[in-house]
């Protein structure tokens, strides 16, 4: 199986690591070769968390600049920051609800406009699916399920070798019981949103 490389970037606390784990567990269920790596040094202190997930026949667990086939960004400016990981054929999925970094509050830097972020990504990659995943998570009943919303959108693209059913099964069996229902709902909302944008 030819390798497919996926990068997920998020701000600490957005649940990126759980999303990666669900993907990994789904790959295990489906017998898809998978390797992943995560950097979460001081994630809890509001920094950036990055996971790389490599499916198929490759031994590396990390992804070099310009080699991600799919990029999922949990926060718009972080999606833009990770653009160096992409190539012209990359499919990008991004949340559009910004989490302004504190550097902006103290006047060190300006948060780029959402419109600018989107047009930049769109012009440089194969496809951008961008929407407000936060409001969808709220609709699903838990604002913390942004990760599941974006996971749904990711699976809809068909860019990674996992089916909707397998991932749902992984959510059912590998996320906390009390959240399974909202997680599944969030996943479906993300899936159908990406579907409607296709």
């Amino acid at each position: 199986m030819k390798p497919t490389r996926l990068i997920i970037v998020a701000v600490g606390g957005q649940g990126n690591l759980l999303a990666s784990r669900v993907i990994g567990e789904a790959a295990l269920m489906a017998d898809v070769p998978v390797r992943m790596s995560e950097i979460h040094g001081m994630a809890q202190r509001g920094g950036v968390v990055e996971s790389s997930i490599v499916f198929g026949d490759a031994q590396s667990t990390i992804i070099s600049d310009g080699e991600a086939d799919v990029l999922v960004g949990f926060e718009p400016s972080e999606t833009l920051r990770a653009l160096n990981k992409c190539h012209p054929g990359t499919v990008v999925i991004s949340n559009l609800a910004p989490l302004s970094p504190f550097t902006v509050t103290v006047g060190n830097g300006i948060y780029p406009e959402l419109k600018v972020i989107q047009s930049l990504i769109r012009s440089k990659t194969a496809k951008l699916i961008a929407f407000n995943a936060e409001s969808m998570a709220r609709e699903a009943g838990n604002i913390l399920s942004v990760n599941m919303v974006l996971l749904g959108a990711l699976i809809q693209t068909g860019k990674i070798p996992l089916t909707r059913e397998t991932v749902k099964e992984a959510i059912r069996t590998k996320t906390k019981k009390v959240f399974v229902e909202t997680n599944l709902k969030a996943f479906e909302l993300g899936f159908s949103t990406a579907d409607s944008m296709a």
């Binding site: 701000v11 600490g12 990666s20 784990r21 990994g24 567990e25 790959a27 295990l28 070769p33 998978v34 390797r35 992943m36 790596s37 995560e38 950097i39 979460h40 040094g41 001081m42 994630a43 809890q44 202190r45 509001g46 920094g47 950036v48 490759a58 031994q59 590396s60 667990t61 990390i62 992804i63 070099s64 600049d65 310009g66 080699e67 400016s77 972080e78 833009l80 920051r81 653009l83 160096n84 992409c86 190539h87 012209p88 302004s100 970094p101 504190f102 550097t103 902006v104 509050t105 103290v106 060190n108 830097g109 300006i110 948060y111 780029p112 600018v116 930049l120 440089k124 990659t125």
Partner: protein, 618 residues
């Protein structure tokens, strides 16, 4: 039941490298495990800690790595399989024990895991601990994947017993923090008790004994070299005449790289997994069969120097590339593309990299550095110290923990840091040679780790500084591990003592000791002022639980605060305190009620008294 205790050999699980390593320990029947927590090794210990609650495994968070190694060394010399886990710099602390333990050896298997951190994702340096195996004369193993880490660790225990030597097991961050599908092996029931047989002429390292022991160590190393020659972990693949010698994660990048370059048939790879002693004959034979060889290893040219020496001994003149000629770097970690490029360049293979994208028109994106949590007690303490020291010329040595982040503006409370405990020792030196007021910071766990000797030194040699001990009741940065000052009973753990920092400080002989609650700003400032005035060593202990840990424990939450219309926009809260719960929209200051933990510090410092608890809003 803990998932790593699953008794189903052959079962496949998605495991983090550190989980796979913990499982490997259990499959080896490890009975005693010790550590001082440090990223990237922390999850091995946190898993062992949990497992020890429900199995025969003994696990302890020791006060520092040296003590951890001593505990494990004694257990191993009583015939009990032991494992000692640390991050790379921890090895420096343990080195005193390590280098002579190598002479003494072990009876039961002892594996010392060192987790190196190329690129310094969460460390102060990127030292290459492979040199410790050379320095100490100990066998070393290095896995390339999570699955291999698990299996290799099991074998490392056998190797340790065969050689009667501790084995150094060296990983890097990308092994510890990568996940893959791992197939489980059989669990082995640990032998938890042993017997120490007196043999002082082999165990008490006075010079006459050590002279014999050093000779014995060299004999064991000869035997180790033979084992390394035949180890399945030193493996050769391919039949080409371009040789590649690699280790650890570099091996994966090499495998992917030669595939992408399409040079599988021209290359031959030697992956070294049993890397001290290096397999001399195997390497010589490998070199003889190659036209040219590239050595791909992150960090220092550890293998490269040895391989070149072997080539010289054998009179081989082929080209051996690596770091020397600027081909590969001694800096940071490698990545697959970088290794692929180096391979292409060294062997003269054309490779058209895929089209990149032009990023020149992407605007600068505001940085997102990690910061102290909203309501972190350290922020409150730093604020109070800054207020108390207003107008003073200061030097602020700091230490290792979340609070290191206080060095960033606007708190700017950190001027010097080299290692665990260095805040106290360097304060002695700074205050001796400078007229500036020295105020240093150390966390509770770090104080126990290596802060105490510095403080004893300060009292004995009559130094002059104020030490602020940031006591938040946990080892926060590495993921909330306990330390000797923690009330374990309160967390429902039985069988622990508790050491009071205040008692230790007083017992050491510090004459001016005060305790503050940093969320009471004015009182704290006044108390700190007094401490700063004192000539000699004064200690301020700042007690307030880590906010993040309190949240994790589901402690009752304080009411969040909000900025009322009384706000005149001075922004003292943002400029002096920089709590990340604050944000500005249309020039007005707001507090994010989800982030705010209700510490009330901002409310106390607002000159307009504009910040109020949310309940008063109605």
């Amino acid at each position: 039941m803990h998932k790593l205790l699953t008794r189903q050999p052959g079962l496949k699980m998605l495991l983090l490298g550190n989980e796979a390593i913990a499982r490997g320990g259990l499959e080896a029947g490890v009975a005693v495990s010790t550590t001082y927590p440090g990223t990237p090794s922390s999850e091995i210990s946190s898993n062992f800690f949990q497992i020890s609650q429900e199995s025969k495994l003994y696990f302890e968070y020791s006060t520092n790595e040296k003590v951890a190694l001593e505990v494990a060394a004694a257990a191993a010399n009583s015939g009990v399989r032991s494992m000692c886990i640390m991050k790379h710099v921890g090895m420096n602390v343990a080195a005193d024990a390590l280098l002579t333990l190598a002479y003494v050896g072990v009876r039961g298997g002892l594996v010392i895991l060192t987790a190196d951190d190329p690129f310094m994702f969460s460390s102060q340096n990127e030292q290459d601990n492979r040199f410790y195996s050379k320095l100490a004369g100990l066998p070393m193993m290095e896995p390339s994947s999570a699955q291999e880490a698990k299996d290799m660790l099991r074998d490392a225990f056998d190797l340790s017993e065969e050689l009667q030597l501790p084995v150094i097991f060296r990983t890097t961050t990308r092994i510890n923090h990568s996940s893959e599908i791992v197939s489980l092996g059989e669990l082995r029931d640990p032998k938890t008790t042993g017997d120490f047989v007196k043999d002082p002429f082999n165990y008490v390292t006075v010079p006459a004994v050590s002279r014999n022991l050093h000779a014995k160590l060299l004999e064991k190393l000869d035997k180790a070299e033979t084992l390394s020659e035949n180890s399945k972990y030193n493996m050769i693949a391919g039949k080409g005449s371009w040789g590649i010698i690699c280790n650890g994660v570099s091996y994966n990048y090499v495998c992917d790289g030669i595939k992408e370059l399409g040079i599988q048939n021209s290359t031959r790879i030697l992956r070294v997994g049993f890397s001290h002693p290096m397999p001399r004959i195997l390497i010589r034979t490998f070199l003889e069969e190659c036209e040219k060889v590239l050595i791909v290893e992150e960090g220092e040219p550890y293998m490269e120097e040895t391989v070149k020496a072997f080539a010289q001994e054998a009179g081989l003149t082929l080209s051996i590339g690596g770091k020397g000629d600027g081909c590969l770097s001694r800096l940071y970690e490698y990545d697959p593309a970088q290794v692929r490029e180096s391979l292409g360049e060294y062997f003269g293979v054309d490779y058209a990299p895929r089209d990149g994208i032009d990023l020149s028109d992407v605007p600068e994106i505001p940085q997102r550095p990690p910061s102290l949590c909203a309501g972190c007690s350290h922020r409150a303490t730093f604020y109070a110290v800054n207020k108390a020291a207003e107008g003073m010329d200061t030097i602020c040595p700091t230490d290792i923990g979340c609070y290191t982040l206080g060095f960033l503006p606007p708190l700017s409370t950190g001027d010097f840091l080299i290692c665990m405990g260095s805040s106290v020792g360097t304060s002695c030196g700074f205050s001796k040679v400078s007229d500036k007021k020295v105020i240093s910071f150390i966390g509770d766990s770090t104080f126990f780790h290596t802060g105490i000797p510095g403080l004893v030194n300060a009292v004995f040699n009559s130094h002059n500084f104020t030490l602020v001990i940031l006591d938040n009741g946990i080892t926060a940065m590495t993921g909330h591990q306990p330390h000797p000052g923690v009330d374990m009973k309160a967390m429902n753990f039985e069988g622990y003592g508790q050491v009071s920092i205040e008692d230790v400080v007083k017992a050491v002989g510090v004459k001016h000791v005060s305790v503050i609650r940093p969320y009471r700003v004015k009182k704290s400032v006044d108390t700190i002022k007094e401490a700063l005035m004192y000539k000699g060593v004064s200690v301020v202990i700042s007690q307030e639980p880590c906010m993040l840990f309190a949240k994790a424990l589901k402690k009752p939450r304080r009411k969040p605060f909000f900025v009322s219309d009384k706000c005149k926009g001075d922004k003292d809260c943002i400029n002096d305190l920089a709590c990340p719960a604050f944000y500005i929209r249309k020039n007005r200051v707001y507090i994010d009620p989800v982030l705010c933990s209700g510490c009330s510090v901002c409310a106390q410092i607002c000159p307009e008294h504009a910040i109020l608890p949310l309940k008063d809003k109605a």
